[in-house]
C-alpha cells in the first residue's frame, strides 16, 4: 500500500531535485514515444540534447542560437515569476510582447531614415512602455473593478495579434515592399538594429537585458522589501495585509514589471533576430515563458537555466525533426511532457510517500 502524507513544510531538497527528475522522466517517456513512432529513441534523444551542443557539424552554429532562443524566454519568464510568486497571474505576456515590438518599431520607423544610434535606445524605451501599458489594462481593471487578470490578460493577446496583423499590412508596412505585408527590415537599418555584439556568440542586447533582469530579480527578491512583500503576499495574503502590503499596488507593480519586460523582449526580437514586423511575428515566447518560469521554480537563476534547457529542446527538436523525420507534433508533445512531469513530481515537494498500511488516526 502506497500512501501520501503531507509534509509539515515543503521539502527543500525535493524542490531542487524535482526539475532534474522531471527531465529524466521526460527523456524516458519521450524515448518510448519516439520508439513507438518507429524512430531510434537513443538517436532521437541524442539529437535533441547532445548534437546542438557538441556535434562538430552543428554545434558551432547551434550553441550561439541557444542564447538567441533563450534570451526572450528568460526575460519574459523573470517578469512573470515576480507576479506568480505574489499570486498575480499574468497569462498575457504574448500580447505584451507583441505590443512592445509594435510601439518600439513604430517609434523607430517614424524617424526613418535618420542615421543616429540614439534611435535604438529610444525604441527600447518605447517597447518597454508599450508592454507596460498593455499590462496596465488588466491591472487597472483588477484593482478598480475586481476583474480576473487571468482572463483579461489572456484575451488581450488576441486583441494584440489582430492589431499586429493590421499594422503589418497597414500603417507599418514597408512602402517599398511592393504592397506585400511586413515592415521595413529593422535589423538592416544601422540606427535601429540590435546586432550580435560579439560575432559567433549569439549575444545581442536582448540576451544582455535578460541576464540583467535575472540579477535584478534576484536582488529584488532576496535583499529588498518589495521582494519580501511579493513573497509574503503569495504565501500568506492575510499576513501580508497586516504587514502593510497594499494589494492594489502589488498588482500594478507585478503586472507592470512583467509587461515591461515582455515588451522589451519584443523590441529586442524585432530589431534583431526577427528583423521586421510581420503578420506572424509572435511565435509563442509569451506562453512558453510560463513553462520556463515554473520549470525554473520561479527562482531567477532557475529560470535562466530553464530558459536555456527549453531553447535546447527547440533547437534539438528541429534537428531531430528533419534529420530523423520525427513529426513536429511529437516534438511539441515532448516539450509538453516536461511541464507535465514537473507538475506531477512536484507532489514530492509537498508530500511524503509512505509505504505500508496507513496508521489509524488516534
Amino acid at each position: 500500500m502506497i500512501g501520501l502524507e503531507k509534509r509539515p513544510t515543503p521539502s527543500r531538497a525535493w524542490s531542487y531535485a524535482t526539475p532534474f527528475l522531471a527531465v529524466a522522466l521526460t527523456v524516458i517517456a519521450g524515448g518510448l514515444m519516439f520508439a513507438a513512432l518507429g524512430k531510434d529513441p537513443v538517436a532521437a534523444i541524442r539529437t535533441i540534447f547532445y548534437d546542438p551542443l557538441f556535434d562538430p557539424q552543428f554545434a558551432a552554429y547551434s550553441r550561439p542560437q541557444l542564447l538567441v532562443k533563450a534570451g526572450p524566454l528568460i526575460l519574459i519568464a523573470t517578469g512573470l515569476a515576480l507576479g506568480f510568486r505574489a499570486g498575480v497571474w499574468n497569462i498575457g505576456a504574448e500580447g505584451q510582447y507583441i505590443i512592445g515590438a509594435l510601439t518600439g518599431a513604430a517609434v523607430g520607423l517614424a524617424l526613418y531614415p535618420a542615421e543616429t544610434r540614439a534611435i535604438f535606445p529610444l525604441m527600447v524605451l518605447a517597447g518597454a512602455l508599450g508592454g507596460w501599458v498593455w499590462a496596465m489594462i488588466p491591472a487597472i481593471l483588477k484593482t478598480r473593478f475586481n476583474t480576473n487578470e487571468i482572463l483579461v490578460s489572456l484575451l488581450l493577446v488576441y486583441v494584440a495579434e489582430n492589431l499586429l496583423a493590421s499594422m503589418a499590412v497597414g500603417r507599418l508596412r514597408n512602402p517599398e515592399g511592393g504592397g506585400f505585408p511586413g515592415s521595413r527590415n529593422l535589423s538592416q537599418w544601422d540606427a535601429a538594429k540590435n546586432p550580435e555584439l560579439v560575432a559567433g556568440t549569439g549575444m545581442h542586447w536582448g540576451v544582455v537585458a535578460a541576464f540583467i533582469a535575472v540579477i535584478f530579480a534576484y536582488i529584488l527578491l532576496n535583499r529588498h522589501l518589495a521582494g519580501f512583500h511579493i513573497k509574503l503576499a503569495g504565501q500568506a495574503p492575510r499576513a501580508a495585509r497586516f504587514a502593510g502590503v497594499n494589494p492594489a499596488r502589488l498588482v500594478v507593480f507585478c503586472l507592470g514589471m512583467s509587461g515591461a519586460l515582455a515588451g522589451l523582449a519584443g523590441i529586442f526580437e524585432v530589431t534583431g533576430p526577427a528583423g521586421q514586423i510581420s503578420i506572424d511575428f509572435n511565435v509563442g515566447y509569451g506562453f512558453t515563458a510560463i513553462i520556463v518560469a515554473f520549470l525554473g521554480r520561479l527562482h531567477p537563476v532557475g529560470i535562466a537555466l530553464a530558459g536555456l534547457l527549453m531553447a535546447l529542446t527547440y533547437i534539438g527538436g528541429e534537428l531531430a525533426s528533419f534529420m530523423l523525420g520525427i513529426p513536429a507534433a511529437a516534438i511539441q508533445a515532448f516539450q509538453g511532457m516536461l511541464l507535465f512531469f514537473l507538475l506531477a513530481v512536484d507532489v514530492l515537494t509537498n508530500y511524503r510517500i509512505r509505504l505500508g498500511h496507513r496508521e489509524v488516526a488516534r
Binding site: 518507429g38 531510434d40 538517436a43 539529437t47 548534437d51 556535434d55 562538430p56 557539424q57 552543428f58 552554429y61 547551434s62 542560437q65 538567441v68 532562443k69 489582430n162 496583423a165 493590421s166 499590412v169 497597414g170 511592393g178 504592397g179 506585400f180 505585408p181 511586413g182 527590415n185 526580437e269 533576430p273 526577427a274 528583423g275 521586421q276 510581420s278 503578420i279 506572424d280 511575428f281 511565435v283 533547437i315 528541429e318 534537428l319 525533426s321 528533419f322 534529420m323 530523423l324 523525420g325 513529426p327 513536429a328 507534433a329
Partner: protein, 364 residues
C-alpha cells in the same frame, strides 16, 4: 522493409558519429523543404508535401528529401534553413512568403547551396523564386459563380489585403460580372490563412446576408462545411476548394477547386541541380505549365456552364485568353487597361486596387 530501415538507421548512426556527411552525400542529392503549416493541413502545406513525395517517386535512390513542418516565419525559419544547409542539403525549398528575408540571409552564407523561395519577389545568385498564377483559376471560378448564383450575391472570404489576394478578387469579379452584370461581391477580411472557426463564422455571416456562392482565399474546409450545413431544399450554397481539391465536399457544395500542383516544378528544379544546370530565376507559372490545376467540375454545374468553364481553361492554357484584358477601369472610374490591352506582370504583382464595380474598400 525492416532490414532496409535497420540498415538506414545504422548508416545514419555511422554518418552522425563520423560527421562525414559531405562524403556520404556526394552521389545523393539532398533536398530540404521548409513548411509553414503541418503536412496534414489539407491545403497549402499538404500540396507542397505532395510535391516533395513526387520528387522522391521520380528520382528514387538518387535523392534524399528532408522537411521541417510548422516553422514560424522569421528568426526560427533562418535557423531551420541554416541547420538544413549544415546537414548537407544541396537544394532547399522555402514555401511561404514570410521566409523571403531569412532565405536571402541564409543563402548568402551558403553560396554552394541552392534555394527556391515560393511567392516572394527577391532573388540572388543561389536563390530563385517561384509562384503560381492562381488568378487564372479565379477567373474560372468567377465564371461558374456568375452563372450559377440565383441571388446575384457572391461571398468572398479574403485572408490578408495583399496583392495576391486582391488579384484573386478582381479576377473572379471580372469573370463573374462578364456573364452576369447584376452580380455583387461581398468581401470579408479574415486576417488569417488558416483558422477554421473564423472561416466558418465568415461563411455563415455571408450566407445570412444572402450570398449563395462562397469563394475563399483561406485554406481550411470550414467554409465548405458551413455551406453544406446552410443548404436546404429550397436553397443551395456552392463553394470551391482552395489550394487543395477538397473533394470530400463534392459534388455539393464544392463544385470545383483550384489546386496548387508544385510537383512538376519541384521535379524539374531538382533535376537541374542533379545535372548541374540550375540557375537562379524568377518564375510565375499558371495553368499552361500545370502549376495551377482546376479540380473536377462536379455534375451539380449545368452542362453548358461546365463546357464554358472548360473552354476558358483551354483558352488560358493555349495563351489565347488573359483574365485581365481591357477595357478595365479601376474602382474609382479611372482607366486601367484600354480595349484589348492585357495587364503586365509588374502591375499584377503589386496590385493594390479594386476594379470598377467592386464595392467597399481594401482595409489598410
Amino acid at each position: 522493409m525492416l532490414r532496409r530501415t535497420l540498415l538506414g538507421a545504422a548508416a545514419t548512426a555511422l554518418v552522425m558519429t563520423t560527421g562525414a556527411f559531405a562524403a556520404e552525400h556526394a552521389e545523393k542529392t539532398k533536398v530540404g523543404f521548409v513548411y509553414v503549416g503541418p503536412v496534414g493541413d489539407g491545403g497549402w502545406t499538404y500540396e507542397h508535401d505532395q510535391g516533395r513525395l513526387a520528387v522522391e517517386a521520380e528520382y528514387g535512390d538518387m535523392v534524399e528529401t528532408v522537411f521541417q513542418e510548422n516553422v514560424p516565419e522569421g528568426a526560427d525559419a533562418e535557423r531551420v534553413m541554416t541547420q538544413m544547409a549544415l546537414s548537407g542539403a544541396d537544394l532547399i525549398f522555402t514555401t511561404s512568403f514570410g521566409y523571403m528575408d531569412p532565405t536571402i540571409n541564409v543563402a548568402a552564407k551558403f553560396p554552394d547551396v541552392k534555394f527556391e523561395h515560393a511567392t516572394g519577389y527577391k532573388t540572388a545568385d543561389n536563390v530563385a523564386n517561384y509562384s503560381a498564377r492562381f488568378y487564372e483559376g479565379r477567373a474560372v471560378q468567377g465564371y461558374i459563380a456568375g452563372n450559377m448564383t440565383e441571388t446575384n450575391k457572391i461571398g468572398y472570404i479574403a485572408s490578408f489585403p495583399i496583392p495576391e489576394v486582391i488579384r484573386g478578387i478582381n479576377a473572379a469579379y471580372l469573370a463573374a460580372s462578364a456573364v452576369n452584370p447584376d452580380v455583387e461581391f461581398n468581401i470579408v477580411w479574415a486576417f488569417t490563412w488558416f483558422d477554421p472557426a473564423k472561416e466558418a463564422d465568415a461563411a455563415k455571416a455571408l450566407i445570412e446576408q444572402g450570398a449563395d456562392v462562397i469563394l475563399q482565399h483561406t485554406d481550411s474546409t470550414a467554409p465548405q462545411a458551413a455551406a453544406a450545413e446552410a443548404s436546404t431544399d429550397g436553397k443551395q450554397i456552392i463553394t470551391f476548394g482552395q489550394a487543395s481539391d477538397m473533394a470530400e465536399y463534392a459534388p455539393l457544395p464544392r463544385v470545383s477547386s483550384i489546386i496548387d500542383n508544385w510537383a512538376p516544378y519541384y521535379i524539374e528544379r531538382v533535376g537541374a541541380v542533379m545535372d548541374g544546370t540550375w540557375e537562379s530565376q524568377s518564375v510565375w507559372q499558371g495553368i499552361d505549365k500545370g502549376m495551377v490545376e482546376i479540380g473536377e467540375i462536379s455534375d451539380a454545374v449545368p452542362e453548358d456552364v461546365k463546357a464554358g468553364a472548360l473552354d476558358i481553361v483551354e483558352q488560358i492554357r493555349a495563351g489565347e485568353m488573359h483574365p485581365f484584358t481591357g477595357p478595365i477601369n479601376k474602382q474609382d472610374g479611372s482607366v486601367w487597361l484600354a480595349e484589348g490591352e492585357t495587364a503586365d506582370d509588374g502591375t499584377l504583382l503589386g496590385m493594390d486596387f479594386y476594379v470598377e464595380g467592386l464595392t467597399g474598400e481594401i482595409p489598410n
